[in-house]
């Protein structure tokens, strides 16, 4: 059998198939079914890492996800993944693992000096030590702390982390967490009652504690066979529930078995979001450590873990084990190792006598009753144990190569705590339990403090019966009872948290927190358990301090002089164990990271050479050219000023408003009036937020007496509809109005320029486009290239313009017809950049100015606020701060030297070049102008409207530029607005 410590056949391994792997460069061999930890132990590799703070040698302490010490880096083909748990990491051929937190080597680590300096590095030392001088923080302390912090190294974010992950949503009547005997018995009952059940188990095998007791094999196997006949039961091994989020929602991480991973294209893990009517938490109990000096030396292991390594993997934790146990359950490890011929160095038990001790003695095992372990000796591994009586008097030594310990068992109630279940102290097991309200579910078995496999199985069945009845599945056909062995009678444990003796006694192995640190926290005033946690870091990081959490609380209780029941237990938060960000991201990565909204004519724009720019979720054509610089943009904009251009404005939000109270409602939503708008006319409107700031703007048309069409900004579409629905459903409940999102229904194109009329006239039938019949701000239904649509005479560019709307499915028909009709006029499509150039010249605002910090007055729109009647934002717009003089107001800006200087968005405006730090405002938008000489821009400037004609300095320190600029009216082009009425 591979490995000197592989002494028996294990339940999960196949000793016939060897698996080669490397640890710290050393080639080793394990077998199929091993974890990295079991393979290391089989090879006698006990030293597996260095501790977080003191760099003390550390070994394998547990056999499960609660492991505090055996964390390794796994090196894959494309990257290094830190903090992988050796105790759950399946061994695979060619696995390369490296120990963490050591330099230059695991055996000799220079920072182990920290261990000797330990008295100068108590908990919280860095809060006090790294205070002064101030300059040292950035230059000295932070780099030093960063180097020292953390365990593993993350070498690449790509590589294995980039492997696909996915999220799945699951639904069940009952979620059963944990497939130990309680969970399995519960699932059997629920299935017979006809409920849809999901059973998740973090282990790769089902059975929990029954896997460690051969007498339970028959029970487990016949139950498993039975469950296969229930199609409504889904069983997911390798799946750990990481969080309980209330309302029946749970998060679970499934590690895919290799065969399934291959079928899903190398998928490694799945985040499962489970929604269940009830939950049965059958997560068992975790063995806890005892704090005594050097309880972290490699070779000190939980007794239950040693039992698991033997039963599951056929690996002995050592060749001459000593035991330190305060409870009868843990004696199973003594008997199991004796059964395979391992000579026991002796059992140390603080109890004077017990049923289990008696059984041990009859088997020839020496039991030291009324004795404790006062220390362990050995340099990089256990060589022996020092005994003492309860008052601390030495009682000799035992030579041993490992010490298997148990301080009792703590029910795993993390999920119940996350659901808000209060803690209840149970003297019988010296631990807290919790219970759920019936509407959520229940705990069962050891998780509820019911110890012993037989008792737990019965408890699971009882819990399941109650839940089934609660869900209306009260009766079942007679269920054949399955035989199982009776539990042995046990003597109660004797609570033992720590052995007071000189030396570092750890309560948290992962964070190097000692009993002394806990007492220091208490002295410093961090008396509350959660404060102590934050002062000492006890109970943090990947293992959440699970095996020592209650021990730390007990030490704190002793320091405070109160019973442990008053101190409580650390509140565990999701996630119950570490999870890769890749798993949380699931499938929403790369091209699926966020949705893309595409225009109906996206493909046309693409084939016309458009460069797309994301605006919100939309992809909009920025410019129809790959040539760099402003030239292509200006060519497009010039076409609009000189002839005619066409642009796709389908991204504008469109909301259909109908109903007898539609006009009244819009009067309330908009700051200006719409009830006076005539049918067939459009009006520019502005909306305020409730706090009085500008929210959105756009044109709204009256299509009928009770029918309006609201258009919003591209960015505002969804938000405006939500805003309107909110007010309709809360503030204006008496109004009879229907709001419908028709944004995607309509494709809309702006045809703009002096020659726009002739182009539109070429495609429209049944509409007189003359200025008299169809003036500025007129709206009509019309037939465009044979398609029923609408024509709006509105303009954003400042030119004569029409917006043509057709159902999006007919977008190409209308667009092509317009291009065809515009050919003689030299029509050309223009993108967002040209649109921006045109509107800046004209002084129209967009999201750069509607930035959430501006009022209507700031933007020169104060005259639009109606004097009569209420509207959203009216009251708060009157706040002193929003009408105070000196607010930033919208102005136009132009460089004084028109020939050379460009303007930069974000430039700060200063009174003089020497006025350091006294910004009067900033440039919000800028562009080279089409018609005017040089650049034009819009800016928000303190008291701006009083500064027309003033010269200021525009400073852009990031570009190391200053430009003298002139403040002008924002309406730089056609201030009389004659062109749009042409």
């Amino acid at each position: 059998m591979p490995g000197p410590f592989r002494i028996a056949h294990g339940l999960l391994i196949d000793t016939a198939s060897a698996v080669g792997f490397r640890f710290d460069g050393r080639q080793l061999q394990g077998v199929a079914g091993d974890t990295l930890a079991s393979a290391l132990l089989a090879n006698g590799q006990r030293l597996v890492g260095r501790s977080f703070k003191y760099h003390r040698p550390r070994g394998i302490v547990t056999a499960g996800p609660e492991e505090p010490c055996a964390l390794v880096d796994v090196i894959g083909s494309a990257g290094r993944e830190p903090n992988q748990l050796a105790t759950t990491l399946p061994l695979r051929e060619g696995l390369r693992a490296e120990s963490q937190n050591r330099w230059p080597s695991l055996a000799f680590d220079v920072r182990a000096i920290n261990d000797l300096l330990g008295r100068f590095l108590p908990a919280g030392f860095y809060y006090k030590s790294f205070m002064a001088p101030g300059w040292a923080w950035e230059r000295l302390y932070e780099p030093l702390i960063r180097r020292a912090a953390g365990l593993g190294r993350l070498a690449a974010i790509v590589g294995e982390h980039a492997a696909p992950a996915e999220t799945i949503h699951d639904h069940a009547d009952v979620l059963v967490v944990g497939a130990g005997v309680a969970g399995l018995a519960a699932v059997r009952r629920l299935s017979v009652r006809g409920l849809k059940v999901m059973l998740v188990e973090q282990d790769v095998a089902l059975g929990g504690g029954s896997l460690l007791d051969a007498r339970w094999t028959a029970w487990r196997e016949s139950l498993s066979a039975e469950l296969r006949d229930f199609p409504a039961v889904r069983i997911l091994p390798g799946t750990a529930v990481l969080g309980a989020y209330g309302h029946g929602v749970f998060g679970a991480l499934q590690i895919l078995a290799p065969a399934e991973a291959a079928r899903f294209g190398g998928l490694r893990e799945r985040l499962r979001i489970v929604r269940a009517k009830r939950v049965i938490i059958a997560t068992g109990a975790l063995e806890r450590l005892v704090a005594f000096p050097a309880n972290d030396l490699p070779g000190v292991m939980l007794a239950g873990a040693a039992l698991a390594y033997l039963r599951r993997y056929g690996v002995a934790a050592g060749s001459r084990p000593a035991f330190f146990l305060n409870n009868d359950e843990a004696y199973e490890a003594v008997f199991a190792l004796a059964d395979v011929g391992i000579k026991c160095a002796g059992v140390i038990d603080p109890r004077n006598d017990s049923l289990a001790a008696e059984r041990a003695r009859t088997r020839g095992v020496e039991v030291h009753g009324g004795t404790v372990v006062a220390g362990v000796y050995g340099r990089r591994g256990v060589r022996g144990v020092c005994l003492a009586d309860p008052s601390g008097n030495p009682r000799g030594r035992l030579e041993a190569d490992c010490l298997l310990i148990s301080g009792g068992h703590t029910p795993a109630i993390a999920l119940a705590s996350q659901l808000g279940a209060p803690l209840e102290w149970q003297e019988r097991i010296a631990a807290f339990t919790a219970d759920l309200d019936a509407g959520s579910g229940c705990l069962a078995g050891a998780a509820r403090g019911v110890f012993g496999l037989g008792a737990a199985a019965r408890d699971g069945d009882t819990g399941a019966c109650a839940i089934a009845a609660d869900l209306g599945h009260g009766t079942d056909a007679a269920l054949q009872a399955l035989d199982f062995p009776e539990d042995a009678e046990v003597t109660p444990l004797k609570p033992l948290w720590e052995v007071a003796a000189p030396g570092k006694a750890f309560v948290d192995l992962q964070n190097d927190v000692t009993t002394a640190d806990v007492r220091l926290a208490c002295r410093e005033g961090y008396e509350h358990l959660e404060h102590m946690k934050r002062f000492t870091t006890h109970g943090m990081a990947t293992d959440q301090g699970r095996i020592g959490g209650l021990v730390g609380a007990a030490v704190l209780a002793q320091a405070r002089g109160v019973p442990l029941s008053q101190v409580g237990q650390l509140k565990p938060r999701p996630f119950a164990q570490s999870i890769a960000f890749a798993a949380l991201a699931g499938g929403e990565v790369r091209e699926h990271f966020r949705p893309k909204r595409r225009l109906p004519l996206h493909d046309w724009h693409e084939s016309a050479g458009a460069i797309f720019v994301p605006t919100g979720l939309w992809l909009r054509p920025l410019v129809y050219s790959r040539r760099p610089g402003w030239q292509p943009v200006l060519e497009e904009a010039r076409a609009v000023r000189a002839g005619v251009g066409i642009t796709d404005v389908s991204t504008l939000g469109k909301i259909d408003v109908q109903g007898p109270d539609a006009a009244k409602f819009l009067d309330f939503i908009y700051a200006n009036t719409f009830s006076t708008l005539a049918v067939g006319r459009a009006r520019y409107g502005i909306m305020l937020r409730e706090d009085g700031m500008m929210f959105d703007d756009g044109t709204t048309s009256r299509l009928g007496p009770e029918h309006f069409l609201v258009t919003t900004t591209t960015a505002g579409g969804t938000a405006v509809l939500e805003h309107m629905e909110f007010h309709l459903q809360t503030v204006c409940r008496e109004l009879d109005v229907l709001l419908s999102d028709v944004g995607d229904q309509w494709a809309q194109f702006a045809v703009a320029g002096p020659r726009a009329r002739e182009v539109v006239a070429g495609v429209v039938t049944g509409l007189d486009l003359s200025n008299e019949a169809f003036p500025f701000m007129a709206v009509r239904a019309a037939t465009i290239a044979g398609v029923a649509g609408r024509i709006f005479r509105i303009s954003f560019s400042g030119e004569l313009a029409y917006e043509v709307a057709v159902p999006a499915k007919h977008a190409l028909t209308a667009w092509s017809a317009l291009l065809q009709a515009g050919k003689p006029s030299g029509i050309r499509p223009y993108g967002l950049d040209a649109l921006n150039t045109l509107r800046i010249e004209k002084g129209h605002v967009t999201s750069a100015e509607l930035n959430g910090n501006t009022t209507a007055d700031d933007l020169g729109l104060q005259r639009m606020l109606k004097k009569q009647g209420d509207f959203v934002g009216r009251a708060l717009a009157q706040r002193a701060g929003l009408v105070a003089p000196g607010r930033l107001q919208l102005v136009g800006v132009r460089p004084v030297d028109r020939s050379r200087r460009r303007l930069r968005n974000g430039s700060q405006l200063l009174a003089s070049a020497t006025a350091r730090g006294e910004s009067l405002g900033y440039v919000t938008s800028s562009s080279p102008s089409v018609e005017l000489e040089g650049w034009v821009g819009l800016a928000l400037v303190s008291g701006g409207r009083q500064r027309l004609g003033q010269r200021l300095i525009g400073a852009s320190p990031v570009h190391d530029e200053t430009t003298q600029i002139e403040i002008v009216s924002p309406h730089m082009l056609d201030p009389e607005n004659t062109r749009v009425r042409a």
Partner: protein, 197 residues
């Protein structure tokens, strides 16, 4: 003892089909307190409007309801506006009738693993026990709005037209492991036929 999740297949046996459903879509939205009147108008036009969360079929029109007092009508594609204008005149004063034929896209997902693929992004319980053919619901999937309607051949998914390609690509990726086959577009009459039989 382990029961691997999913029934993924690679290779020739495609277990998910993805196509489009060609239909004109009209939304009827009743004014306050006029839902019954609207149902009367629909009945006179030979259409029964279903309860919330359900689909109904009359002739070759599929009707579904996922919002209070609002119904979506899917009928065979006709000329632009042809499906909505009779409703606009019939409902005047009672309800709004809106043409959404261009605003919504209808995808048709079929095959034995269609629901498995949907579970990758859909929070709804789509188990046939919980969501049998004839049920409909609105939800968010792949970060966009979607209306799901269970039909015997699979699932009809309505989504805003501007994000339809995104959702389609996302569905294709989710279904990849199960073997994905592009399916010919179906007409709403074909779906209605299924529900009738």
């Amino acid at each position: 003892m382990s029961a691997p999740e999913g029934r993924a297949r690679s290779g020739p046996a495609a277990r998910v089909g993805l196509g489009e459903c060609l239909a004109d879509i009209v939304e009827l939205a009743a004014l306050r307190g006029r839902a019954l009147d609207l149902q009367g108008i629909a009945a006179r036009r030979g259409l029964s409007l279903p309860a919330p969360g359900r689909i109904a079929l009359t002739g070759d029109t599929l009707t579904l309801c996922v919002r209070p007092a609002r119904w979506l009508l899917l009928s065979p594609a006709a000329a632009a506006g042809a499906s909505v204008s009779p409703w606009q005149s019939a409902c005047a004063g009672t309800a709004a009738a809106l043409d959404l034929s261009s605003g919504l896209s209808a995808l048709h997902l079929t095959g034995p693993d269609a629901r498995e693929a949907l579970a990758r992004g859909c929070r709804l319980d789509l188990d046939p026990q919980a969501f049998p053919a004839g049920h409909a619901a609105a939800t968010i999937m792949a970060q966009v709005a979607a209306i799901l309607a269970a039909v015997p051949s699979g699932m009809l998914i309505l989504t805003p037209a501007s994000t339809a390609r995104h959702l389609r690509e996302w569905l294709a990726a989710a279904a990849q492991a199960f073997g994905l086959a592009p399916r010919a577009d179906v007409t709403v009459s074909a779906l209605s036929g299924e529900l009738h039989s």
